[in-house]
Every structure is written in C-alpha cells, then in structure tokens.
Symmetry: C2
Amino acid sequence: MVLKSYDVLVEKVKALPEKKRVIVAAAGDEHTLEAVFNAVDEGIITPVLVGDKAKILDILGKMNREFDADSIYDVPDPVDAAAKTVELIREGKGDFIMKGKLETAQILKPVVNKETGLGQGRVMSHFVLNQLPNYHKLIVTTDGGMMTYPTLEQKKDIIENTVDTLKSLGYDCPKVACVAAVEKVNPKMPETVEADQLAQMNKNGEIKDCIVAGPISLDIALDKEVANIKGYDNEVAGDADVILVPNIQVGNVLGKSIVTIAGGKMAGFIVGAKVPIVLTSRGSSAEEKYLSLVLAAAAVAGK
Amino acid sequence: MVLKSYDVLVEKVKALPEKKRVIVAAAGDEHTLEAVFNAVDEGIITPVLVGDKAKILDILGKMNREFDADSIYDVPDPVDAAAKTVELIREGKGDFIMKGKLETAQILKPVVNKETGLGQGRVMSHFVLNQLPNYHKLIVTTDGGMMTYPTLEQKKDIIENTVDTLKSLGYDCPKVACVAAVEKVNPKMPETVEADQLAQMNKNGEIKDCIVAGPISLDIALDKEVANIKGYDNEVAGDADVILVPNIQVGNVLGKSIVTIAGGKMAGFIVGAKVPIVLTSRGSSAEEKYLSLVLAAAAVAGK
C-alpha cells in the first residue's frame, strides 16, 4: 500500500472508531489552540491541554470555545509542562504530543531522558510527508532539520525511523532514495559515498523492510523518463516514497522549493520517540498544521 | 531593469540587427545540431561548425538541412576541435561557444589555458536562469555544478560572474540571496558563516554592483509574506534575482526541484570566460537547449 493523497489519510482518520488524543504541551498559545480546535471540529482528534490554565481559558474564551476547565492540567512553567506531557504519555493518558508555546529543545529534553523519557535508542528525525503537484503519490522528505549534518549511522537511524512510520501508515516496503548531485560514487563527494553505503546496508540486511537506492539524483528518483534517458535502472527510480537528504542545507532548500516554488502541501512531525511529536511554527499554514495532526493521528492509529 | 519572462528575452534576441554567431565544438552530434538548427530557424543565431566534417554533413543530410560545406572547419578529433573553437573565438570568428560531442573537461581545457585561452582570472561557474511558475520575474540559480564545494573566494567569483552576466542582459543592480537553512549565523553551519561574509564583502564594497543578503532561507528570498512573518526585513527578501547555493548538493536538488517538481523552465551556460559556453546534455529538453542559445545570444549582444 502507498498513500496517493492527503485526502485518503483524512478520510482514514475521520473513520477511526475512537479519536486519538493529542497532549498539547504549553498550550497557552493562540495559533496552537486554533490548529488543535480546527482539527477537533473536523473530527480528527481529542485534545488534552497542559499549560498555564488561566491563559488557556482566556484564549479559549476569545475563540468562543467551550472546554471542560477541570480537564486542563495547570502547569504554567513551560519546562514543567513538557515534563508533565511526557509523564502523561507514559501513563497512557494521550497518544501523541503537540508542541505549544515553548522551545523545541524544551519539549525534547524530557522526551530524550534515558530513564523517564520516550526514546527508542535512535536519533530523532523530522518526517515530512509532501503532496507534490505532479507526482503519483505522497512522498516523504527527511530529515527536515533535527540532525543538521547526520553521520552514516544517524542516516541509518533516520531511514529506520521513516520506514517504521510509513509501516504504521500502512506501507509494506517503502522505496528510499538517498539523493546526491550525481549517481556515481565520488570520493570527493562524501554524500555519494554514504548514499552508496546505505544502499549496501540495505542489500546486506542491516536496513530492513524497505528498498534503498543511492546515490541517485532527485529527478531520477521522481521521474522514470529521466531515469530511462540517463540509463539508470532501479526499482526506486521514478517511484520513490522517501527522499533522504544528506544534510539540513539540502533538506531545507528541498522543503522550501516544494512549498514556495511548486505549491505543494506538506505536513510532518518528529519521529524516533515512542509517539509522534508535532511541531508547527507561526509561519506554518493552517492547512499544514491541520494535516500534521491528521498524519500523527493516522500514524498512532496504525501502530 | 529585470527580466520578467523568457518571452521578453526571445523577442530581444530576434530583434537584434545581426544574428550572433555560435561556434559549435565537435558538432558531429545529432542532438546538438538539432538544437542549433532549431534556433537558426527561429532567427536566433548563425552557426559556425567545427568537427568531423563528413559526420556533420551526414547528420545534416538526414535532417534535410542545406548548409555550406566549405564553411565547416574539418577537425575530427574532439580535443583539436576544442582548441580550434577557442582559436576562432580569439580571432573574432564567433561570439560564443556551444559544446557538441565531447566531454566538458575537453572543451574547458583550451578555454582555461593561461596564454591562449579565454579566462578572466576568475573561476568559471554555471549560470542558470529559471522561469518559476509563481515568481514575478526570472531568477538565477548558481553555481549549477562547476565548483562542487566552492570556497569563500570562489563564491565571490561566482557572484561576480553572475552579476557581470546579468548586467550584460540589462540588469542594473541585481539582488543576490546567499541561501542557507537558517537566517542566523551559526558557527556549526559553515554555509551561514560564509553567506554572512559575502554580505559583508558587499557592504564594504568588495563585491560591487549588486545587493547581497545572507544567510537567508529560500522561502524568504522568494516570498515577501514569509519574510514579514519571520520578521526578516531586507531589500532582497521576496525579490531575489539570484540564488547563490552553498555547494553542488544544494544546487542540484534546487535545480531538479524547479524542473521536475515545479515544472519551471531553465536555461544556462558557463560564465567566467570571455564568452558564454553553452552545455546541454542529451537529457535536456528541446526548450532548454533553445533557451540556452537565446540566453547566450542575449548576453553577448549586451556586452
């Protein structure tokens, strides 16, 4: 199974017998609450709010929202709210996390705590699922910026995080393209060397449940015709489910190209912990925020 | 002046009182000759052919083309054809170069020769002019891959090559965005440090005739609204004429995104020598080849 569009995913989540519960850490933030309650209206999620209760009630009041004040966990300090959020996940009081008004590092600190956290022994990475204007299915780009210049081992973790997430979304054996500027391994381009090593690790069974190709250029990964012209024959060519970028500079330009230049849709969350962690910024569109909640709900439903 | 679209450039070149002369090095190649004669039909250029005469005449015959056989420089060996091409440029027998059936390194070797070449004391870079689906003018992306991991000094050369080329196309003071994943200088991200240094070199007059901003993310460079949301205030934000990429990995993914994902148009040539050098590959679309010849003709007309 592969996902053809976000509509499929939205329908899937709306049809769930029980709404997934998002724990919002430091929820006293207008744009976060708007995104959350927009998704509530659409029947996507049930919210659990952690943060400055007075502030949260004030914002909900201005939004004309009715919400059971007693259900709010009153933890005004963002660091404490993050710790409480992780504790609630461990107690089974919620299915995934959304970051509110606190720094990314603040929410991640209790998540990565070796004893009381939600780690799984891998690095965490940003999983972004994109709907492109001219591609025949959704496509993941990763890492979106958690690991700035990942090592080979970290790239392996990133692939495994991504494959696990796609499996929870229903994929059988995703096709992963480790992109680089050229298809030939060139010792002067470490990106090509590591892409080749990842493909080898997949061949020898170290990276499982997926097909990894690389080094492969982006156009070959996305367009079978280009692959044919360039004589590149591979299952991944023209049919990639995942674009693994070599570092944050490439990932950032690719992400911005997809949204700003191509007008694509994107949504995502942090993977590698026991539950998804949705981060959206003030700059994110309402649609991106909504689809990120949809995506996280679908991922936890499939676990 | 800025160029809004390729149509403007095509009209400009068609209106030139005299057609610019392209010297085709190792012209015995079907896809090269097709591109050249397509541009001849459109009134863009006059060709000067250097290469294996028998082969060239054979291909032209199959294409049902009439061409003065006596005007062909019969130089069957590609290395010799490259040398002859450079010699002809120096003798004023042509205005720019197009690479035919030979390696890029083969055509560049006589070009960079210190005594008999066409160098200008700078590195050479690939200048690509793109027409994006949603941007209000054409935009350059550079370097397209001549310098794989340019140093700071080489990035300065690349900017100067680009600005000189844009000036010959009629631009007054192009806006250059040195892109990176973040806007804040971070010593752990050398791309941001060098982008900042380039902006400083522009402020202190070392890089002239343009406005350089950086580090700046791609979306801020292209979209004023995003710039406003992120509180980034700068003349280049939302109005960049040039995207300077930090290395070949970023440049390649950006170029492939523009064409494969966004369906943009692109064309380009190598700059830094005394005349443009057009390189197109078998994989290039007919339109890209045509527009590259248009672009080179326009650039030499404006010198």
